[in-house]
Symmetry: C2
């Protein structure tokens, strides 16, 4: 009756490294499970191996959202797409990303003579402005500009729902058949066995359910993205460097942990997840410490981390 | 003096799966270490992660030999090349493979806007005939045609050396200065402190050192390749299927374990290594058993296997 159990909105980190991976860190990839519909965000090399490792049911991936065309965000795409085909996928797949994503993938697949069993719908998004490009009435996805060396976009996933929650304790004290409960949560008036009429408000209350997740990688610290990520429940913001290398972050189009935490603070988000660590850092807890000095509610992103949004 | 210690010729298996990898099986890649010069053979997705895992000193890779352009043999190449560049490689790299390898790699790198710090020399090889394309006087590499669905080439690596081995036990009984030993193994006559003259043959014997490794993936069973792989010390021959699926092997351009073992037997090789297993097989010992029923000296190829050739 209430929709609480069906509110699955879960994030799995598949890769947390930046350009150079190691034996246990993999380049960018994340998986969102929104009520059993899967959205893959970025697809660095070996993403398909991570999907196997974490026992993900690949076939439920309906969309792949690519931030930009640097290799550590897309080099896993040709292999994943080819494996989809080998595994007899039939359902169409939507791939979103900046201009050039279709050329990249089709070019690579053509050279390797891959024949796909399923259709790919490409959605090339404007990297200069925000675009709400998906809306199924419950979930909306908006792309927005990031500030990197090449055209790069962030994504915000928003699940929003208005519904009525039944007051089961109260209604069960009345002689109202269970078959009437549906009417209550639909906002209709009902009557008991003796003919007394009750409004929906007497046994239920309106709920505004709103959960959101924003993905920001790769980007310089840039406050112009705040309007897009404001108040989200969970923000992933890249933390390639520590603050001691702020000049390097600026030069290469990346952010420091301190900058990501400042962004989280200024945007009023609930929780921050870190990631995209430069391979020069072997120990990652320093990222957590640097963030938490500014924004305590930070989670250290790493392979296998599962976050309920 | 003798060259025995410098005869390093070692094979490391990096990937043993066919098209669909899993969390612990990776697509085709092998590494040959020939006297500290490294040759990478095929480069399936996540090869660079395997190189980290096995603590390989990447920078020593001078050549990458690609068999064909199917994704499970090349999708690790763009990431590896990009990482070489991030790691500040300066030495040129030679990439050999069938026609199209340059287009594939350059196209992929162009889309991802990768800028390399080092030069790549491409060597596109004829997939219809044998070509000895490398010869440094010690090591030669010959490509030869395989029988697959797309242009595919095998490689045979041959280290051949004629030298003289010093009889250290005998020579040390004479009053001959150690400084003369070099002359002996160079084939020259020498004299002792009393002026007696000895020919090189008295203290050394000629040695013909010859070791070879052949790589055959992917291919149907095809006896026309025997002249190229005849008598090699170690043969890698793909075993995608067991004999029960011989029809499937024929149809898809692959071989069964039984066929690979028959090939090893007919070509008179010393040892056979299996690999490129279809993902339908979870337990691999059946491949070893099927091969050994025909060719006992078979080794089960899998990630991390190190073979001295």
């Amino acid at each position: 009756m209430t929709k609480k159990n069906s509110h699955l909105f879960e994030l799995l980190i598949l890769g947390s490294s930046s350009a150079i991976p190691s034996d246990d860190r993999f380049p960018s990839a994340q998986l969102l499970n929104i009520r059993e519909q899967l959205f893959l965000i970025d697809c660095g090399e070996a993403t398909q191996n991570r999907l196997w490792s974490f026992k993900v049911r690949w076939s439920k991936i309906s969309h792949i959202c690519i931030s930009h065309l640097h290799g550590d965000h897309v080099f896993g795409l040709p292999g994943l797409i080819t494996s989809f085909s080998h595994l007899q996928r039939k359902e169409p797949l939507t791939i979103c990303g900046p201009e050039g994503i279709q050329d990249f993938l089709e070019g690579t697949l053509r050279h390797s003579r891959a024949h796909l069993n399923f259709e790919i719908h490409y959605l090339e998004l404007d990297h200069r402005s925000g675009t709400k490009f998906y809306n199924d009435g419950l979930l909306s996805i908006t792309s927005f500009p990031l500030n990197h060396r090449v055209p790069t976009i962030g994504y915000v996933f928003k699940v929003e729902e208005h519904y009525r929650k039944l007051n089961i304790e109260k209604i069960s004290q009345y002689a109202i058949p269970v078959s009437q409960y549906k009417k209550v949560v639909a906002g209709e008036s009902i009557s008991d066995m003796e003919g007394n009429v009750y409004t929906s408000d007497e046994f239920s209350a309106p709920v505004h359910y709103l959960k959101s997740y924003a993905y920001c990688s790769d980007t310089r610290y840039d406050e112009s993205i705040i309007p897009f990520i404001k108040d989200v429940d969970v923000l992933y913001h890249e933390t390639t460097y520590l603050e001691a290398l702020a000049h390097k972050a600026q030069e290469t189009g990346h952010s420091t942990a301190h900058q990501a935490a400042t962004m989280a603070e200024k945007a009023g988000v609930q929780r921050l997840i870190t990631g995209h660590y430069s391979s020069r850092y072997h120990e990652l807890n320093v990222f957590l410490q640097e963030c938490q000095s500014v924004f305590p509610n930070t989670i250290l992103g790493k392979e296998g981390l599962l976050v309920q949004i």
